[in-house]
């Protein structure tokens, strides 16, 4: 198969939510010596964009979005093993730790944001859900990320975002990172109020914002 055919196949595998096929073709691309970064750019990202549009149009559902994201994540993980340290460094857009704040178990949106960031060259450390402020602080100290990302889906857990920012301030870490917040009830106005650096309405905007910050 030519590289174009492989890219097309990988894109279609994502659109068909076919994880096995996606991994198989990603391996074929690696065996054929194709640059893994090109596979991500021309195959996986194109596929996930189509899935996103179909979801917005009501043609696909959350479960489909999650399946596509999981196929993409698995393929990115496989491809990453074959990206040289040097290339990785060149292509790395920045390091981001991300999590859903304490008291909140909603992880679907946050996982989609993580997956898309990873596919766009970010080193993403996903802390999962119900992440207490102390863990955000601990991880900032340990990993020295460029960005701290927080997600909240409940109006009752939104104030936790401010707690994390205050905890970072208390430990003199606030100036070392940019803070991005998101999740359905979060607004630009709220982000400004709690002193976050940025807000993104969806995963695509989150990637744009993160890129602008780290470029």
């Amino acid at each position: 198969m030519s590289s174009e055919q492989l890219f097309e196949g990988i894109k279609n595998a994502i659109v068909d939510l076919d994880r096995e096929e996606c991994l198989k073709l990603a391996q074929e691309a690696l065996d054929a010596g194709i640059n893994p970064l090109e596979v991500i750019e021309n195959g996986l990202k194109k596929g996930i964009q189509i899935v996103g549009t179909k979801y917005d149009d009501g043609e696909l559902f959350i479960v489909d979005l999650m399946m596509a994201a999981s196929a993409m994540k698995a393929a990115v993980e496989l491809l990453e093993l074959h990206i040289s340290a040097e290339l990785k460094q060149q292509a790395r857009a920045g390091k981001i730790i991300i999590g859903t704040v304490e008291g909140d178990v909603h992880d679907i949106g946050k996982t989609i944001v993580s997956t898309l960031l990873a596919a766009n060259g970010f080193e993403v450390i996903d802390l999962g859900t119900e992440v207490p402020s102390s863990r955000f602080v601990e991880k900032v100290k340990e990993l020295k990320p460029d960005i701290v990302g927080m997600s909240a889906l409940l109006t009752t857990t939104m104030p936790q975002m401010q707690e994390v920012i205050e905890a970072l301030e208390k430990e003199d870490l606030r100036d070392s990172v940019k803070v991005m917040v998101g999740g359905a009830p979060v607004t630009q106005e709220f982000a400004e109020k709690i002193g976050a650096d940025g807000y993104a309405k969806d995963a695509e905007k989150a990637v744009k914002w993160a890129k602008a910050l780290t470029s």
């Binding site: 009501g58 559902f61 994540k73």
Partner: protein, 352 residues
């Protein structure tokens, strides 16, 4: 140019000219039309809403004789607890009497602070006593409200079943679906169990609130519960939804041959009616990034279609963060009365 005080989706004052309000109303109705493929509001209807929104007076009301049924959900928590700034030191039984005799509600609801059928199951007998006492003291129909809340059946929220999203993250769609079906069966049993106990107390009705909050399996399990409760008790059933679109976390569940995932309010209402529900509580969530006029026009467009589609009474939810009302704890009177009047006059809904 004259500016009118509208509200943002978070409740802040927003000063808009008539043209700006009209433009937001048009965009709001257009959103519903484009996404749900339902008819748009006409130019006359937009003018009608515009007239209501720009009517002078801090609060407004419908014409004499055009009043509709006013009911509540969320238990008595708005009086006894949920909002720290306005809660009163009264019991739930007293709150119902306040609602009936001082505020003038036509029906009232009690519920437990832990507002889901699963926790209520373990205290059902104690709750039955509260229901009996309330029924003995009040004249208006009393509902008991709780959420089906499929989410709490999963381990991520302390439940028994593994979380379906964990399976999805591993690409295991069959397992993700199977676990939702099993959890939904447990949920159906819990709702029916509670309903049967409460039916013996003289309770007038059950409000199954925030249905489908955890997606289509949540909706499916609730519809199954409605079928059984209608067969086995004489409780009236009000079924309130969680949002304008049913999330497809399973995406392959059908009821009466129709796929539940992705259903819009008019389609949801039809399912509730087919299962045996007596009142449909349509819910259209407020987009906090948009103005209240935008949200109101979107809500009215959906509710009009519900009114055309279902024959049972329809009570659109018009409170914090739903039905064009801003997402804030204490809702400003100007916006709640204007939105209410517009909803009633434009849709002919049976209650709110």
């Amino acid at each position: 140019m004259t500016e009118f005080t509208m509200r943002t989706g978070t409740g802040k004052p927003l000063y808009m000219t008539k043209e700006q309000i009209r433009s937001d109303l048009e965009d709001g109705t257009n959103w519903a039309t484009t996404k749900a493929k339902i008819p748009e509001l006409s130019g006359n209807e937009i003018d009608h809403i515009l007239g209501i929104l720009t009517r002078p007076g801090r609060q407004i009301g419908v014409e004499q004789g055009k009043g509709i049924v006013l009911t509540t959900d969320g238990g008595t928590s708005r009086y006894t607890g949920i909002c720290r700034y306005s809660a009163m030191p009264v019991s739930r039984e007293q709150a119902v009497i306040i609602g009936e005799r001082f505020i003038g509600f036509d029906t009232f609801e009690i519920g437990h602070a832990d507002y889901s059928f699963r926790p209520v199951k373990t205290i059902a007998m104690d709750e039955a006593t509260v229901i009996e006492n309330t029924e003995l003291n009040s004249v208006i129909p009393v509902f008991y409200g709780a959420m089906p809340n499929l989410g709490i059946y999963f381990q991520s929220q302390g439940g028994k079943w593994p979380s379906p999203t964990d399976f999805m993250n591993e690409g295991k769609i069959d397992e993700a679906r199977a676990v939702q079906e099993s959890a939904a069966e447990d949920m159906t049993n819990d709702i029916v169990y509670v309903a049967k106990i409460f039916a013996k107390t003289g309770l007038d009705g059950l409000d199954i609130d925030t249905t489908a909050a955890a997606g289509d399996a949540d909706f499916y399990g609730t519809l199954k519960a409605i079928e059984t409760i209608k067969k086995e008790t004489d409780l009236a059933l009000e079924v309130g939804m969680a949002g304008e679109k049913v999330f497809g976390l399973h995406a392959d569940l059908k009821y009466e041959g129709e796929r539940l995932a992705g259903m819009w309010p008019h389609q949801q209402g039809l399912m509730v009616e087919k299962a045996g529900g007596d009142i449909f509580g349509a819910v259209i969530n407020t987009d906090t990034g948009k103005s209240c006029p935008w949200n109101l026009a979107r809500s009215i467009t959906f509710v009009k279609e519900v009114m055309k589609t279902v024959t049972i009474p329809v009570h659109p939810n018009m409170g914090m963060g739903v039905g064009g009302i801003p997402m804030c704890e204490v809702i400003p009177m100007d916006v709640v009365t204007r939105s209410g009047v517009a909803m009633v006059e434009l849709t002919n809904c049976d209650g709110v």
